[in-house]
C-alpha cells in the first residue's frame, strides 16, 4: 500500500487504512477517473467535490480536504455510483467510512446537518432500540429551526388528524443484548482496519 511522504497528516492515516480494509477497498487505486459516478449521483449538482474527486483526494492522502467537503454528507447512499462504476469501486462504502471518521473527529463542512441527524438517530436507537420519528425530527430541528418551515404547518396537523403521528413509540425490551454486543466491541477494541486477528 503506497504511503505518500507529503501526506497532510499522519493522524488521519487511520481513515485511509479503514478505507483500504473495506471489501475490495484497494480498488480505489484502479479508478480511471472516468466521472461516471458524478453523472450517476443524484446530488452531485450540489457537491463542492464530485464523487470522483473525493476518491482522488483519498488516494492522494488529502484526507482532511475529503472530510471537510460538503459532498460526503450530501451523499444519500443511493448506491447508484457503485452500481455504475466501471472499475467496480464501492464508492458508497468509501463515503460511509468518511462519514464515520467525520463524526469521530468532528470534522465536517459547516453546511452539513448530517452528523447531527445521524448522532440523534443513533442515540435514540442505542437507548430505546427504536426510532420515534417525531422526536427525531424535532431534536434535529433544534439545530436548524429553519427545517421546521419546509413543510406547511397544516401538514403536521393533517398527519395528526389522520392518526399517523405516534408520540410515544414502543421500546425494545431486551436492550441489554444490544448493550452487551456494543460492550464487546469496545472492550475488544476491535477495529475493521487492523490486520486480521481472526
Amino acid at each position: 500500500m503506497p504511503e505518500a511522504s507529503w501526506w497532510e497528516s499522519k493522524e488521519l492515516s487511520f481513515v485511509y487504512e479503514r478505507i483500504l480494509s473495506l471489501a475490495e477497498g484497494n480498488r480505489i487505486f484502479e479508478c480511471i477517473q472516468c466521472g461516471t459516478c458524478g453523472g450517476a449521483c443524484p446530488v452531485s449538482f450540489a457537491m463542492d467535490r464530485t464523487p470522483r474527486q473525493v476518491i482522488n483526494l483519498v488516494r492522494s492522502g488529502r484526507m482532511e480536504e475529503a472530510l471537510k467537503s460538503e459532498s460526503i454528507w450530501l451523499c444519500a447512499s443511493c448506491y447508484n455510483c457503485a452500481a455504475e462504476c466501471p472499475a467496480g469501486i464501492k464508492i458508497t462504502d468509501v463515503m460511509y467510512t468518511l462519514k464515520v471518521a467525520s463524526t469521530e473527529l468532528g470534522i465536517h463542512h459547516k453546511n452539513s446537518l448530517g452528523p447531527v441527524f445521524a448522532k440523534t438517530l443513533v442515540s435514540q436507537l442505542e437507548s430505546g432500540g427504536r426510532i420515534a420519528e417525531v422526536q427525531l425530527i424535532l431534536r434535529v430541528a433544534v439545530h436548524k429551526l429553519g427545517l421546521l418551515t419546509t413543510l406547511n404547518p397544516v401538514i403536521y396537523l393533517k398527519l395528526f388528524m389522520a392518526g399517523r403521528v405516534k408520540l410515544r413509540g414502543e421500546k425494545v425490551k431486551r436492550m441489554e443484548e444490544l448493550k452487551k454486543m456494543n460492550g464487546w466491541l469496545i472492550a475488544s477494541s476491535f477495529s475493521l482496519e487492523e490486520k486480521d486477528r481472526v
Binding site: G38, T50, R52, N80, P86, A87
Partner: protein, 651 residues
C-alpha cells in the same frame, strides 16, 4: 556410460537459494558421471559451448542440465548437444528453478531437493536410448476459416505461393465487418474500394476454392494431415446458374430486417446480401419466404430467366484434406442493450457505431444521409466511447479501435452536416497507430467538442425547456469537475468488440484454447501471436483480440507465412515419444484399444495383437499404464527410466 552434469546458477535465480557448488560436488560423486560443472548461465553461448566441448573432449554419451523448466530450455540444450554430435534424446533436464529455488524458502532444504533431482535425472539418463524425431509429411493445402479481411489476406498469400486454399465463410458473402464500413481511419479511404478488389481476387484466383455460406462441422487428424468435413448450407438458389441480376428480389413480397444494414432497413426473403457481395448470388431466407412458410408464391422462380431457383436444394457435405488451418473468424459487436443506462433500444435516436457506419454508406439504409429516425438532420450529436469495454461489469479489456472510429464519426458528421455540434465523450484517448495522433488533432481542429468524462446516462425527460424533444446526456466533465446535462438529437455508442458468437464452438472443434476474454489463445503473447498450442492451427485478425485493419492484415500475412513455412519444409517433426508393443508379451486382450484418445492403436487382423499407428500416437502413455501384461512401453518414457528417476528422488 559417460554423463556430463551441468548445474546452472541462472544468475541469482537458482544460486541465490541453492548451494550450487554443493550440488555440483554431489553430482560428480554419482555413478556414470564423468564430469560435473556449474556455470552462471547455461543457456548462453559460453554455457552451451561448455557442454559441446565436454562432449567432444570426454566422449560423453549422456548430459544432464539442472536449470530452469524443460518448457523453457529443453529444446535449447537438445539442439546444443546434437550440434556437438550427441543424440538429443540422451539428455535430461532437472528443473531446480521452477521446482526448487522459486518455490523453496529454506536454502538447506532447497539444496537437498536439488541434489535429489539431479540424482534422479542422472539415473534416468543412464537408461536412456538414442531416439529420432518422427517426420510427418505435410499436405500442400490450407483451410482458411472466415472470409473477412484477415481470412481473405491469408488465403491470397497462400494461394500466391502456389498452395491450394479452401476458404470457408459462414455468411453468404465474404468481406466480413470491413465490408460494412464506409470510410476507414486515418486516411478516410473508402472501405469498399480497397476491399472489393481483394474479394474479387479471391474468386479469380485458381488456387482458392471459395466455400461461401458454409461451415466446418468436424475436423480430425493431425498437423500436416487434417480431415475436415464442411457443410454448404442450401441457398435454395443454384449458384452455378444465378447471374446476380437481382430481379427475384425486386419481385419478392416477403420482407425481413436487413442484417447487413444492422436491421435499419428491410430486405426481401430472396436477396443478395449487398451490392458488392462476393459471390454475387442470391439466397432465400426460409423464415420470411412465403413459399416455405405458407406454401404459396414462388414469384422468384417465375421471373428468374436463368432458372436458378431450387426450392428443394439440400445441404452439401464436403470432405477436405489439408495440411494447415488458419482461423480468421473475426469478432462480434458488443450488444448495446447491455448498457442499460444509455437507452439503446428504447430511444430510437440512440444508435451504435456500426449502425452509424451503415448510415454513412451511400448504399446503406439512408442512402448516405446522416439523419434521425424521423428523417431530420441532427443539430447536435453525442459520441460515447468505451461502451461495453474497460468495464468490470461487461468486458475489462479495451477494444482498441473505438477511439479512432469515434473520431472518424465526429469528422464525418462535421463534413456532412454544416454547423452540427458534436460532443465526443471519452475517458482516455487512444490514438497509437501510424497517422492516428495526427488524425486526432485534425478532428479536434474541425471543432468537435472533446469532453473527458464517461456519461452516466441518457434520458429523454427534460428538466428545462431547452431539453424538450432532445436526448439528454448526463456526464461529468472531469477536467472542469462539473456534472452537466448535454441536450443532443442523436447519440452514437462506440461499442466494443467481443469474441465471436461461435468462438466457443470453434475452439472446441479446432482444439483451440481461449483466453479469459473469450478470444483465441495464441501460443505466446509476445513472440508467437499467430500460432496456437495446437500444431498446424494458426489464428489471425480480430478472433485473436480486438484490432484494426492494418493489424489484421499483418497478422493474416504472418499466419500465412507460418503455414507456408510448414508446407514449404514439406514435413512436420513430431517428438519420438511413441508407444511400442512387445509382441511376445501382448495377449491380444484389447484393453488398450478403447483407451486411446487419438485412435492410434489398432488390432492387427492377422496376428490379433495390438499395433501402434505411429503418426497418430501423441505419447500420452495411457495405454502403457493400462496394459495388464506390460506389453506396451513408451519410447523416451520407458517404465525402467521413470522407475530409475523415482529411485533417484527417494534415495
Amino acid at each position: 556410460m559417460k554423463i556430463g552434469v551441468y548445474i546452472c546458477h541462472c544468475g541469482t535465480n537458482i544460486a541465490g537459494v541453492v548451494n550450487v557448488k554443493e550440488v555440483t560436488e554431489y553430482a560428480s560423486s554419482l555413478p556414470n558421471v564423468a564430469v560435473a560443472r556449474d556455470y552462471k548461465y547455461m543457456c548462453s553461448e559460453p554455457g552451451q559451448n561448455l557442454i559441446g566441448d565436454d562432449i567432444r573432449q570426454y566422449g560423453l554419451d549422456g548430459v544432464v542440465v539442472a536449470a530452469c523448466s524443460p518448457t523453457m530450455h529443453e529444446p535449447t540444450f537438445q539442439t546444443a548437444v546434437s550440434r556437438a554430435g550427441m543424440n538429443p534424446y540422451m539428455f535430461q533436464m532437472a528443473s531446480i528453478r521452477e521446482h526448487v529455488s522459486w518455490v523453496t524458502v529454506d536454502p538447506e532444504e532447497a539444496t537437498e531437493k536439488a541434489k535429489k533431482l539431479v540424482e534422479a535425472a542422472a539415473a534416468r539418463v543412464s537408461l536412456q536410448e538414442p531416439l529420432a524425431k518422427r517426420r510427418i509429411p505435410v499436405r500442400q493445402s490450407v483451410l482458411v476459416v472466415g472470409g473477412g479481411i484477415a481470412g481473405i489476406e491469408a488465403a491470397l498469400k497462400c494461394a500466391d505461393a502456389g498452395k491450394k486454399v479452401y476458404l470457408v465463410e459462414k455468411e453468404p458473402s465474404i468481406g466480413g465487418h470491413m465490408a460494412m464500413f464506409d470510410k476507414t481511419f486515418p486516411t478516410l479511404d473508402c472501405s469498399q474500394c480497397i476491399l472489393t478488389p481483394k474479394m474479387v481476387e479471391v474468386v479469380r484466383n485458381e488456387n482458392i476454392e471459395l466455400l461461401d455460406y458454409s461451415e466446418v462441422e468436424e475436423i480430425s487428424g493431425h498437423v500436416g494431415d487434417f480431415k475436415v468435413s464442411v457443410v454448404r448450407k442450401p441457398r435454395y438458389v443454384d449458384s452455378t446458374k444465378c447471374t446476380g441480376c437481382g430481379i427475384c428480389s425486386t419481385k419478392c413480397p416477403g420482407k425481413a430486417p436487413d442484417e447487413f444494414n444492422m436491421g435499419m432497413s428491410k430486405r426481401k426473403a430472396i436477396y443478395i446480401p449487398f451490392p458488392q457481395a462476393v459471390p454475387l448470388k442470391a439466397l432465400i431466407d426460409r423464415d420470411s419466404c412465403l413459399y416455405y412458410q405458407k406454401g404459396i408464391c414462388k414469384v422468384c422462380a417465375k421471373f428468374c430467366t436463368a432458372g436458378a431457383i431450387d426450392f428443394d436444394q439440400e445441404p452439401d457435405h464436403l470432405s477436405l484434406e489439408v495440411g494447415a488451418v488458419i482461423l480468421a473468424t473475426g469478432f462480434k459487436p458488443f450488444d448495446a442493450r447491455r448498457a442499460r443506462e444509455y437507452g439503446y433500444g428504447k430511444y430510437p435516436n440512440v444508435i451504435t457505431s456500426l449502425e452509424f457506419e451503415r448510415m454513412t454508406s451511400s448504399s446503406g439504409p439512408t442512402g448516405g444521409k446522416l439523419v434521425l429516425k424521423d428523417g431530420r438532420e441532427p443539430e447536435s450529436v453525442a459520441i460515447i466511447h468505451c461502451v461495453g469495454s474497460r468495464n468490470v461489469n461487461d468486458n475489462l479489456y479495451c477494444s482498441k479501435i473505438c477511439c479512432m472510429q469515434s473520431l472518424k464519426h465526429a469528422h464525418l458528421l462535421k463534413e456532412h452536416i454544416p454547423g452540427v455540434t458534436v460532443y465526443d465523450f471519452f475517458i482516455d484517448l487512444r490514438a497509437a497507430g501510424k497517422g492516428y495522433e495526427e488524425f486526432y488533432r485534425r478532428v479536434m481542429g474541425e471543432g468537435t467538442i472533446m469532453i473527458r468524462g464517461r456519461p452516466a446516462l441518457i434520458t429523454d425527460v427534460p428538466s428545462a425547456p431547452v431539453e424538450k424533444g432532445k436526448l439528454v446526456v448526463v456526464a461529468e466533465d472531469t477536467i472542469l469537475s462539473t456534472v452537466q446535462r448535454y441536450p443532443v438529437d442523436m447519440a452514437i455508442l462506440s461499442i466494443g468488440l467481443e469474441a465471436g458468437e461461435d468462438a466457443k464452438e470453434l475452439a472446441r472443434t479446432f482444439t483451440c484454447s481461449r483466453t479469459a476474454d473469450g478470444f483465441f489463445l495464441e501460443k505466446h503473447p509476445k513472440l508467437a501471436p499467430v500460432s496456437t498450442p495446437t500444431a498446424g492451427v494458426f489464428i489471425a485478425g480480430a478472433c485473436q483480440g480486438p484490432k484494426d485493419i492494418p493489424d489484421s492484415v499483418a497478422q493474416a500475412a504472418a499466419a500465412a507465412a507460418e503455414a507456408l513455412a510448414m508446407m514449404g519444409k514439406g514435413y512436420f517433426e513430431l517428438e519420438p515419444y511413441v508407444a511400442r508393443v512387445t509382441e511376445e508379451l501382448c495377449s491380444g486382450c484389447g484393453v488398450c484399444l478403447n483407451l486411446c484418445a487419438y485412435n492410434a492403436l489398432e488390432k492387427d487382423p492377422q496376428t490379433g495383437l495390438t499395433k501402434v499407428v505411429e503418426a497418430l500416437c501423441q505419447g500420452c502413455g495411457a495405454c502403457v499404464a493400462a496394459c495388464p501384461s506390460n506389453a506396451l512401453d513408451l519410447d523416451g518414457f520407458k517404465t525402467k527410466q521413470v522407475a530409475a528417476e523415482l529411485e533417484g528422488i527417494l534415495a
